[in-house]
């Protein structure tokens, strides 16, 4: 029944109304005297060095995401079986064993082909690059000051 969702809708409407009302009130009632310090972004007391906009993630993240999606979604077939596994009995168990065996084959392949190695050397290359870039920026900022 749609009626059952009425409380949820009411709550959501209330929340939105409260937020809008309090922001409008502070805009209208409070004093507004901007200066550069107040307008600057606040990051733990430091000047933000650079904006993360447009930065690229290392390709490694995509590989991990890809593998995660695939192996994660495979569990979807375990749920219906888990719900009815007593009624399915041995037949269901054998089916599932075959299924998991197949997933395991894929896992062995990924493992042996190096899909799970994060990076050669110490630590992820992308993190090292990001750190180097940040340090360079810090140095520049210090010199400028």
């Amino acid at each position: 029944m749609l009626r059952d969702y009425l409380p949820v809708v009411l709550l959501a409407a209330l929340a939105v109304a409260f937020a809008v009302a309090s922001m409008t009130a502070s805009r209208l009632l409070g004093p507004n005297r901007p200066d550069p310090v107040k307008l600057s972004a606040y990051e733990c007391g430091n000047e933000p060095i650079r904006l993360p906009k447009g930065e690229k993630f290392g390709v490694k993240f995509y590989v991990v995401a890809m593998l995660f999606i695939i192996f994660d979604i495979e569990t979807i077939f375990l749920f219906p079986w888990a719900v009815t596994f007593r009624t399915l009995g041995l037949f269901g168990l054998v089916e599932m064993a075959i299924f998991i065996g197949l997933v395991f084959v894929a896992y062995v392949y990924v493992w042996k082909k190096g899909g799970l190695d994060w990076a050669e050397g110490q630590g992820p290359a992308s993190v090292r690059e990001a750190r180097a870039a940040a340090e360079a920026d810090l140095g520049e900022a210090a010199r400028a000051r």
Partner: protein, 484 residues
């Protein structure tokens, strides 16, 4: 306890063997430190041979037309289509082994499991008796082919793979939407069940018609019928040539196998509604494919457009919506698979290392440089053009005859006129090979025997089916009876 479903795995034994072979080669590639192409090839060919044997053993099977809770069809159409697909895969593997041996590329051991998985999907889709299985099989074969398309260092291959993937996934979504609509209209996803439900309904078939439309879009993409053909030239050109050979020949057989079931079983009660749609697709494919092929200067692109035209010819046969049409379409598919496989095989051997020589100009004077290859190419070109005494001629006569007997003589006329136009660009290749001087400096020629041996299969079949078509027609008479 639920009753354990009655399990008869024999009708899916070919698929189980193929998938098993795929897994074995995959593990071999992963676990053997120095996996060799020869071992890969051996393992794969054993798997293919066993699967072919298991398919042929199903020919005389009696009993339930469907098994595994109505998921798999055990009829002779499935047997014939499987045997064609498996043979194409075997030749494709031989060509591919040679290709990667020559290209000096990385090992590319994944070629073998991927071809085997794609073959599994293709044989499964022609035996599917449930739209869920059709969808799963379609995805198995498509996903494998997307990766296979990109299996080369050339940037073109990656790009082709990307295009194929995006458009293929797009088409799959349309197909799936159609399946959902068919389920909504009839309450079942079983191919035969849909037919029963539709036959029982009177009026109010809007949902079923929507379903039919979306399914037509999905299949149109897979068989590359106009106007869903845009990906074909790019993908066929960009993919490694042995992959193109396998894909062009086998995918069409598989997709048409499933299309025949969906049209002539599920939607048989609505035959008068889908006939004009298929009619229009057929006419557009035949005309557009033939005309655009004339303008191509790259052999692979030219063959891609020609494959679009051939999809139109098969659809011409299907407009008959009866056993006559199915038989003609099956014969056409077999002939098409053989001549396409063969011509792409020759293209691969002519282009030596990598993909340098796929322009039409590199065929000038081939008759003098490489008489055997030129002879094979001439045979396949004549067959594609539909000139007797080749399989292509008999196949064309078959589909046009079926269309005319069903009252679609206008479509047959369009087909004949287009064939005449198409003969121009096929014969141009023959003229180039035999009547022109070789151009450019002498280049290294590829003279290895193994791929030539592999090409003997399609060449012999193209000739034999052209001269003695009765041999196959008797078999197809029995195979084109759909049991459900």
């Amino acid at each position: 306890m639920l009753p354990t479903p009655k399990l008869d795995f024999l009708p899916v034994l070919p698929e189980l063997i193929l998938a098993g072979a795929g897994i074995v080669t995959l593990l071999y590639e992963a676990l053997a430190p120095r996996a060799s192409r020869a071992t890969h090839l051996g393992l794969s060919l054993v798997g293919l041979a066993a699967a072919a044997g298991a398919s042929i053993a199903l020919w005389d099977r009696t009993g339930d037309p469907t098994v595994l809770a109505g998921a798999i069809q055990a009829d002779r159409l499935a047997v014939v289509a499987r045997v064609i697909i498996i043979s194409v895969a075997a030749v494709g593997l031989l060509l591919g082994t040679h290709y990667y041996d020559r290209s000096g590329d990385e090992r590319r051991g994944e070629f073998y499991p991927l071809v085997l998985f794609a073959t599994t999907g293709m044989t499964l889709i022609v035996a599917a008796a449930d739209l869920i299985v059709v969808f799963l099989a379609l995805e198995i074969l498509s996903l494998s082919l997307y990766v296979l398309t990109g299996m080369s260092r050339r940037g073109q291959a990656t790009e082709a793979s990307m295009k194929y993937f995006l458009l293929g996934a797009f088409a799959s979504a349309f197909f799936l939407y159609g399946v959902a609509m068919a389920y909504g209209a009839t309450g079942t996803t079983k191919i035969a069940g849909i037919a029963h439900a539709l036959a029982g309904q009177t009026g109010g078939q809007a949902l079923a018609l929507v379903a039919l439309g979306f399914l037509a879009i999905g299949f149109g993409f897979k068989v590359s019928a106009v106007p869903f053909h845009m990906w074909t030239p790019d993908v066929y050109q960009g993919a490694p040539t042995p992959v193109t050979a396998f894909m062009a020949a086998a995918t069409k057989v598989a997709a048409f196998g499933a299309l025949i079931r969906v049209l002539d079983v599920s939607f048989q009660p609505l035959a008068w509604d889908w006939m004009p749609v298929i009619w229009a697709l057929a006419a557009a494919s035949v005309v557009v494919g033939s005309v655009l092929a004339i303008a191509q200067s790259d052999v692979k692109r030219m063959l891609a457009y020609s494959s679009i035209a051939h999809a139109g010819f098969v659809l011409t046969g299907l407009t008959a919506a009866n056993q006559d049409g199915i038989r003609a379409a099956l014969f056409y598919l077999i002939a098409y698979a053989m001549m396409t496989l063969g011509s792409f095989g020759v293209v691969m051997l002519v282009s030596v290392r990598g993909e340098e020589r796929t322009s039409l100009a590199s065929y000038s004077g081939l008759g003098r440089r490489q008489p055997l290859l030129a002879g094979l190419m001439a045979l396949f070109m004549l067959s594609l053009a539909g000139i007797p005494p080749t399989a292509g001629f008999i196949a064309k006569v078959g589909v046009f005859g079926a269309a005319i007997r069903a009252g679609h003589w206008q479509l047959a006329l369009v087909g004949v006129v287009s064939s005449v136009a198409a003969a121009f660009f096929y014969l141009r290749v023959v003229v180039l090979m035999y009547m022109q001087e070789p151009q450019g400096e002498e280049q290294e020629e590829d003279r290895s025997p193994l791929p030539r041996l592999a090409l003997a299969v399609p060449a012999i079949l193209t000739l034999v089916l052209g001269v003695f078509p009765q041999m196959l027609l008797g078999v197809l008479d029995k195979a084109s009876v759909l049991r459900w």
